[in-house]
Subunit: 321 residues, 2 copies
Amino acid sequence: MTDKKMDIIRALKRAGNNPISGEELGGILGISRTMVWKYMKALGEEGYVIRSSPGSGHVLVSAPDKLYPSEIMDGLDTSIIGGDIRYFDEVDSTNDVAKKMGSSSDEGTVVIAEMQDSGRGRKGGHWMSPRGGVWMSVILKPNVVPAYAPRFTLMAGVAVAKAIRGLGVEASLKWPNDVLIGDKKVCGILTEMDAECDQINFVIIGIGINVNVLIEELSEDLRSSSTSLSEIKGEELDRIAFVQALLRALEDEYIRSKTSGFDSILEEWRSLSSTIGRDVDVVTPQRIIRGKAVGITENGTLLVETAEGLEEIVAGSCIHG
Amino acid sequence: MTDKKMDIIRALKRAGNNPISGEELGGILGISRTMVWKYMKALGEEGYVIRSSPGSGHVLVSAPDKLYPSEIMDGLDTSIIGGDIRYFDEVDSTNDVAKKMGSSSDEGTVVIAEMQDSGRGRKGGHWMSPRGGVWMSVILKPNVVPAYAPRFTLMAGVAVAKAIRGLGVEASLKWPNDVLIGDKKVCGILTEMDAECDQINFVIIGIGINVNVLIEELSEDLRSSSTSLSEIKGEELDRIAFVQALLRALEDEYIRSKTSGFDSILEEWRSLSSTIGRDVDVVTPQRIIRGKAVGITENGTLLVETAEGLEEIVAGSCIHG
């Protein structure tokens, strides 16, 4: 959306139920009434409902259910994350787009889409991303070594869990990269990086959340293990408000990791986790490790107490017992 | 270069000093004499000198001094590296091009350029890449964790040193990523990766070698610490033959790392290194470590015996004493 259209929406929002005339809008934006009319028409095509009464003016009736950057940025009080938001109606994968943009983008740039055709999970797995969800990738440029990459998955998990809890829903974290409600998955996180051997150029934190997703729209094999926020709440959520809360939470955690160190985030991950304290089976390419999950390290590895002793697991699929 | 042009060059090379007629070439390639003539003209524009005598035929007199994929691939007996070679006369950075292509490219794809406008060294440093050098990036897709990335720098160093030694020039390896002749830099290696937290999607091994580079063309601050193969040999080298030898050496080391394990490469790195056994100052962002370099680990870290004991250094600039 162009800046002028954003400005019109802002002016209309500010005016609330008081009509603003085309002349007044033109004055605020420094454009002609003809241009105001053109933008109004374009806004209507984008799904904004604007009531126009000859002689009095225009009133914004409703905004479309779209993740438009102008809507997300309106009232977003972050200083790093969301300074630049790139919107796509449909995209292969927001992580792939973010990766291509990464080196030339500002830290905190967000790529967001209404749907993904080839959303990815860990190790190239497919991630279903129908309309109604929030599919986004955040570009960060921390000055750290590649070995720290798993920290961003943990950090994002904490932020997502907090944003969901802000809606009054009990979300928990499942190692390594899922957010659950009860025992069902509502969100997956895929952190990727572009790095030299000893320094990350940038990380991409991919976050996919079933917000207003109809579970029947997911493939059959996923339905029994997945849920969505709308299914839990029994109503559709305001996705814009949710994304704003999530970006806010992400920024809070990111700043916390920089100022207070990663330990406090790790501590919170543990307390939000439904994996720790649980009997688990962890499937790795080599074998299945069975035992009780007793902790997580700052490198993101899971500690499992097995019959043979304590095991530290770098990567695997975790099945809660 | 199109396949047909490559086929013409191959046919001419095979014929040596025996002229081939346009009709004969057309027959071999399955195209008309008019098309043969068109391709001949295009080849002339690319710098190939072809002597054509009416009535007898065509003889290849000389190929241009260009790193054309068709020339590199002609006689290249590798099975992984160089199966696909992308050529640029001028490019910002071959690593950047390779990074963008990485996920959709075959393992072993090479990006090569006559010059780079924004060649990069470690930590975003500039790398001067004038004409005459070999500036290339190799895409590998090993199934390993991100922590193994430094191994590819060491592996490439061994391959470059061997390729240079194949010319009868004593090259040595300087930690972490340079190849020296005497105490002057002839090559730098920049390994980058696209990775998930626990798995590399692909690595890019960037290799910049001053082959036929005039040292006077480098910026003044680099001249005293740099050399080129042509300076050492006192004559220009056949860059195509050198690139072929290098790709061959890279593939040998890569296969060795997969079949015999990384230890044998590490052992060779040590024996080719002029850092090990040397008094060094290692400059890190935090401090300068002074001591004797006594070893290197499989993670690419340098072991330095200091007055205070043994130090393991992950990253830094090494100054040979």
